[in-house]
């Protein structure tokens, strides 16, 4: 897996004392530092983002460098963090707000859905809300209840929002730059299981990243596997085993931008492979896989040789950590599903 992952821009596992490259936490921190240096309109706001450097240390050191005017330790109130950020964006700043965990972002949802996503539209282009809402999400880190959810579909379903999920330190670095540059609100979901799980070298200047484009991580012909965030790693493991044991090479796509979805990329790949497997850690019903599937159907139906398959979390809450792995899609489940697809 390490080699495959490396080749595919998924970095290498961080092991022992090895200190090459940056973790995703460090990559995001660096992106924030870079944009704050280059654009003084950028401010960071959230619970514990200042003196503490964020509960995951994502904003470590920023307050020392940029001061407490630009790195705002906020009171404990998610709706106001979003709402105050909207106000700051309306008055010339470029706030990067942090929700401490995505599971608490629902408290800010009315502000995000009702105003961040609508003010440009409401004002017929007169106003704009260039803000980023960062939030760690997803399971796999032995966390408490409400700390492991994966609900990108909520944000993907709101017109006027862009939603982005990086799957590696290098992509996080590039995408956060793009998100902060974007003139419209961007929900930036950070797979916390990847925060420190592997390292990657970062380029001097951030890679170009275009919000709205999926990324082919591994080319192949046998089937298309689409995933994002932390799910990309079990997918690559399964794909490696598939190549090894069955000699079948999967095309692996990192969706990366949840919304607006890259429909052409999905259709293009599926029309070449004829098979589609979607992997997400969200619960099954009304999860994001349905949208990916519809794009394949709308763009490549007659190429489909097998039913589109999804491997997802279950329609249960994420269990406490002893059983977390029973909830999450595993390389084995993905492998099995791929094998099944290849029978057709």
């Amino acid at each position: 897996m390490n080699d495959a992952a490396d080749k595919n821009g998924m970095g290498r596992e961080s092991a022992g004392n090895e200190r090459h490259g940056k973790t995703m936490v460090e990559a995001i921190n660096r992106a924030l530092r870079e944009v704050m240096e280059e654009d003084e309109r950028v401010v960071v706001i959230g619970q514990d983002v200042g003196v503490d450097g964020g509960v995951f240390r994502v904003t470590d050191g920023l307050i020392d460098e940029f001061g407490s005017d630009r790195v705002i330790d906020s009171p404990l109130a998610e709706s106001a963090i979003a709402g105050v950020s909207i106000g700051m964006a309306l008055n010339g700043l470029r706030p990067v707000a942090e929700m401490q965990f995505s599971g608490f972002s629902y408290l800010a949802f009315a502000q995000v859905e009702g105003h961040a996503a609508r003010l440009r539209w409401r004002s017929r282009g007169g106003l704009g809300v260039p803000m980023v809402v960062r939030m760690p999400y997803g399971a796999g880190v032995r966390a408490l209840e409400h700390h492991s959810e994966s609900r990108e579909a909520f944000y993907g379903h709101v017109p006027g929002l862009k939603t982005v999920i990086p799957a590696s330190p290098r992509r996080a670095h590039a995408l956060l730059h793009a998100a902060i540059r974007d003139p419209d609100p961007v929900i930036f979901m950070e797979p916390k299981a990847l925060y420190r799980s592997f390292r990657e070298d970062l380029p001097e200047a951030p890679d170009e990243a275009e919000i709205g484009r999926a990324r082919i991580v591994q080319q192949g012909e046998a089937l298309t596997i689409i995933a994002w965030g932390a799910m990309l790693r079990p997918v690559l493991k399964a794909a490696a085993r598939l190549a090894e044991e069955a000699g079948e090479v999967a095309e692996v796509i990192d969706l990366e931008t949840i919304a607006p979805i890259d429909a052409p990329a999905i259709a293009d790949s599926v029309s070449r492979t004829g098979r589609l497997l979607i992997v997400t850690e969200a619960p099954l019903s009304y999860g994001p896989a349905g949208e990916v599937a519809m794009r394949a159907i709308e763009g490549a139906f007659f190429s489909l040789r097998a039913p589109i398959c999804r491997v997802t979390g279950w329609d249960t809450h994420v269990p406490f950590f002893a059983r977390e792995q029973s909830y999450l899609p595993s390389p084995q489940r993905i492998f099995d599903a791929a094998r099944e697809l290849l029978k057709h």
């Binding site: 705002i72 009171p75 109130a77 709706s79 709402g83 105050v84 502000q111 007169g126 003139p183």
Partner: protein, 365 residues
């Protein structure tokens, strides 16, 4: 020595300057700036007439739902007149009088109320936000705008409006707390008009006064007779000064009354007595200013009549223009619904727009 469980504070004394008959409560204390009072009187009268016209146009089917302002003209004009172009106006959904004062075009207002998004087109530099429909949701924006202004080295102040009902929403509290912690130069202006749809003030919250809630965040506050133009202006000016000079937020609770329906979808006879409405009719804020101006020999009935007819002409003209604009919109391309979702249209939205156009053509054919 120790209070075991301290009881809530006593009530505030509402601030008043103008008596109901138009005489000043303390003649010596404050001689009003009469030119300014005249301007404010005109604005109040205009708002009243626009309100009435909107209502009659709505009743005959030309306009959609809106929230009348009648009865709250002094609260709005007395306060909005205290800020300048460099300051920000952050309204809720009933601030038509204040919006007109800030330069809102009457034509736009009519076009928007007729159901066309174009009516809310906002000038980028105007420092006036469009209405915020979700109750209390605009209050955090006011704080963020104020804080950004301060960070960018401006002296600007933000004046934001909300109702008595809004003080029950979490966003109200979170916003006041943020304003206090950040020292944001915001004036939180509450129009306590006695009702939140059918909920009377007394059932909305157990506190004796609403402005008392500001104290919970270390914010100073005042209750004011909201139908007293001069008192509203005096208190708001002081709050604006503190915000501008001392960077301190304040809250003002203006005691006023919604004389009309909550919105045009509402039937207030279901929940309130005519008596109450009549009691407040006697406190009409426009009558009170007119009495003052008459007592000062600044206006007479003839001048009022002339002003009325000038306003009527303005409104007629605006409605004609609005109808013209609506006709143009009706003839225009309906794919305007895809505009301004983002600054740059995404490939996906362009695809949907194309599909829409294709379907429209099919509909026609």
């Amino acid at each position: 020595m120790t209070i075991l469980l301290a009881e809530p504070d006593p009530a505030f004394e509402p601030f008043r300057l103008l008596d109901r008959d138009g005489s000043l409560r303390d003649e010596a204390a404050v001689e009003p700036d009469i030119a300014m009072v005249e301007e404010m009187h005109e604005a109040m009268l205009r708002a009243r007439r626009v309100d009435e016209r909107l209502l009659s146009l709505q009743r005959r089917g030309d306009l959609g739902t809106f929230a009348p302002v009648k009865g709250q003209e002094a609260a709005q004009i007395g306060s909005i007149s205290c800020i300048g172009d460099e300051d920000w106006f952050v309204p809720s959904f009933r601030e038509m009088a204040a919006a007109l004062w800030r330069g809102q075009s009457l034509v736009d207002l009519l076009v928007a109320t007729a159901g066309w998004n174009e009516g809310l087109a906002t000038r980028q530099d105007a420092r006036n936000l469009p209405p915020a429909i979700p109750v209390a949701s605009q209050l955090p924006h006011a704080v963020g705008i104020a804080h950004a202004g301060r960070l960018r080295g401006e002296e600007s102040v933000v004046l934001t409006y909300f109702g008595d009902g809004a003080t029950s929403e979490g966003d109200f509290h979170e916003a006041l707390n943020f304003a206090s912690v950040l020292n944001a130069p915001v004036v939180f202006f509450c129009q306590n008009n006695g009702w939140a749809i059918s909920t009377p003030r007394a059932r909305q919250t157990g506190s004796r006064t609403l402005c008392q809630k500001a104290h919970a965040y270390g914010i100073s506050a005042a209750q004011v007779d909201g139908n007293d133009l001069l008192a509203v202006r005096a208190v708001t000016r002081e709050a604006v000064r503190r915000a501008r000079e001392e960077g301190r937020p304040s809250m003002i609770e203006a005691l006023t009354y919604r004389m009309e329906v909550h919105t045009t979808a509402d039937d207030p006879t279901r929940y309130r007595d005519d008596d109450e409405v009549e009691k407040w009719r006697a406190r009409d804020p426009i009558n009170r200013v007119q009495a003052l101006l008459k007592a000062r020999d600044q206006i007479d009935d003839e001048m009022i009549a002339a002003l009325e007819s000038q306003i009527e002409d303005e409104i007629n003209k605006a409605w004609d223009d609005a109808k013209e604009q609506i006709r143009e919109l009706e003839d225009g391309v309906p794919d305007a619904i895809f505009d301004h979702v983002f600054r740059e249209p995404t490939a996906e939205l362009d695809r949907q727009r194309d599909l829409f156009a294709k379907l429209e053509r099919r509909d026609d054919g």
